[in-house]
């Protein structure tokens, strides 16, 4: 059955499915298959007015290939451009990787909820991330560091499978060099190189060894499901309450605006009620994730 398009004139205003056009202004290869794009809105008004909160995501278009969902990896405290970091795994990410500086792509967003950073005034903040899971966490890290005097101690525990798989390598060095950041970098056993001077061990194990205090502290955790699963008990042992532990969920999405039904899990639409969830909320989810 085909339904004829009954209108004759194009819509005067965009629908919620029409992306804003952006131009690639810089790109960085983080690893052999992971790239960061720095994007600027073509529309000058949007460049000025675009605002978001740490943890929100967007739908990124490679015209001809489709759309992909990534968090905004740059912090809201640095306006003017936004960054996304993605691994080349499918059709759209492969097409996004084809883009060069100066090329046009599309963006819809910001969508979803955010980390309650404003509620963390005066608290110690612990970041735990694995692999490309550092991308959403990086947004929060920079947001906190750009407002450094509002928070207590900042501890970052970050690991990847191997030295090559660590993303944002220049920033890892920058954070390690700061006196006001306790930076711990680790790689999985076997992933180290001869000149590796970080730790060797899985993120949850290293987190237990570092044993940051849970007193007046919140934790932001993001990484592969297996890392999240094993990090939660470690945080609980350290004394972190479930309400003070936050993560951001990956779910396959298409619309990003609570319509297409894809990211529905338990009572939640991850695109609307998430992607940021507390450990308390996660424990109410059906055991599907």
């Amino acid at each position: 059955m085909s339904t004829p398009v009954t209108g004759r004139e194009p819509r005067p205003t965009p629908t919620i499915y029409e992306p804003s056009l952006m131009t690639v202004v810089d790109l960085v290869d983080e690893t052999v298959d992971t790239r960061t794009l720095r994007l600027e809105f073509n529309d000058e008004g949007l460049r000025e007015s675009f605002a978001f909160r740490a943890g929100q995501f967007g739908e990124y278009s490679a015209f001809g290939a489709g759309e992909c969902t990534f968090c905004i990896a740059s912090p809201p405290t640095r306006a003017g451009a936004l960054e996304c970091t993605f691994k080349t795994v499918g059709k759209v990410t492969a097409a996004l990787r084809e883009l060069n500086v100066g090329d046009t792509m599309g963006f819809r967003g910001p969508y979803g909820n955010w980390f309650p950073v404003d509620d963390w005034h005066g608290k110690n903040v612990l970041f735990v991330a694995g692999g490309i899971g550092l991308a959403p966490v990086r947004c929060v890290i920079w947001n906190v560091l750009d407002r450094r005097d509002e928070f207590g101690d900042v501890t970052i525990v970050y690991g990847a499978r191997s030295v090559d798989d660590l993303v944002y390598k220049r920033e890892l060095e920058e954070w390690a060099g700061r006196a006001d950041v306790n930076m711990v970098t680790t790689v999985d056993p076997g992933g180290e190189t001869p000149d590796w001077d970080g730790r060797v061990g899985f993120v949850p194990t290293v987190l237990g060894e570092v044993a940051p205090s849970a007193k007046d502290a919140v934790a932001v955790v993001c990484g592969p499901p297996i890392m999240i699963k094993f990090s939660f008990p470690v945080l609980a042992d350290l004394g972190f309450a479930d309400d003070d532990v936050f993560t951001t969920l990956e779910m396959r999405m298409k619309c990003g605006v609570g319509k297409c039904g894809r990211c529905n899990i338990g009572p939640y639409y991850v695109c609307k009620d998430g992607p940021v969830f507390s450990a308390t909320q996660l424990k109410t989810l059906p055991p599907e994730y």
Binding site: T6, P10, T15, G66, E250, G258, C260, G266, P267
Partner: protein
Amino acid sequence: MSQERQTDAAPALFLAEGELAALVDELAAADVEVIGIVEAAAASPAAAAADVLHGRPALEYRVLPPGVTPLLGPGMPRLSLKGFFLPQTEALFGWRQHGADVGIERSAAATRPRVALGVKPCDAAALEIVDHVMNWDYADDPWNERRAATTVFSLACPVEDSSCFCAAVGLAPDTARGADGLLTPVTGGWVVEPTTEKGAAFVAAHAERFGPAAPALVAEGAERRRTAAERVRANLEIDADSVRDWIAGHFDDPELAALGVRCHGCGACAFVCPTCHCFDIVDETEGVGRGTRRRLWDTCQTGKFTVHASGHNPRDDQNARFRQRVNHKFSIYPLRFGEVLCTGCGRCSRECHAGQDLVEILGAIDVAARRPEAAVAAADGGEA
């Protein structure tokens, strides 16, 4: 986008059989598109072949060609009316590449007025139910434009067969929900009752086609409607609130988890469903440097629907996917939007090759929910 209701019931009108063709002609002359139920065989040799197979003519909603009147009698179209509001595929916008730049070409809005005459009440009610998800935060313009452009008259249903269960989900075979008025078949024509301002305006615009309904005809219609309501109640009666709470609290229940054991995962149930609204968004290229972004019907019954880029799939077997279908319709949607995502049309049961039957399934859940321990488990937040 709930339709505004008239508070006072207007006196019933009568549309005589002989006036139907003139009404349709009048609409065509006014450049109004008329949607109605027709025998699909008239339009397609494949449908004609299927009719031989099934021993009865297949019905479908169609935009009526000139001179064709809609069927205003018994019979259930195979597909619901949904496609006229959320088409199987629609262009969201076009794009053109000019060197490094891209230009976006917007699609046309649905502005031409349409009238759907003789819609199954379960199909019209679905529109109002799906309105929730299309507008709960971001407004879905293509859906809303088509809703606004369309006047819907439902046709009181005689109840088609044992798969009908609209009464079990809080509707009735003569509900005017989601419609702008109701037609009730009576001797020699139809009793016409507009229920919204849009419906009243439609009747007023074609006043010469409608006469006053004689009290005897109104009584005849009421009796038919009463009998139909009784028939459908006999098919299935459940306590939808208990079913909702039981599903929410029994995610790991072996019965619920095993529901999909016969399911092939073909997704036919979702495609024929008037309330299933999940969709995919894809780019269709047209040569080099140009293309169209489209939205298409999709279904939670395929594995690809939820598979992550990493390969992890939260619903990686058919039981989990079928459970999601039941869960979304009878627990998640009511918890979120206050009513079940189902109008009891029975199409999913009629079309299922594997014999999955929602009447049976809901009946079984209802029985489980009535067990004394179910109430306790639901109060404890379930066993999960």
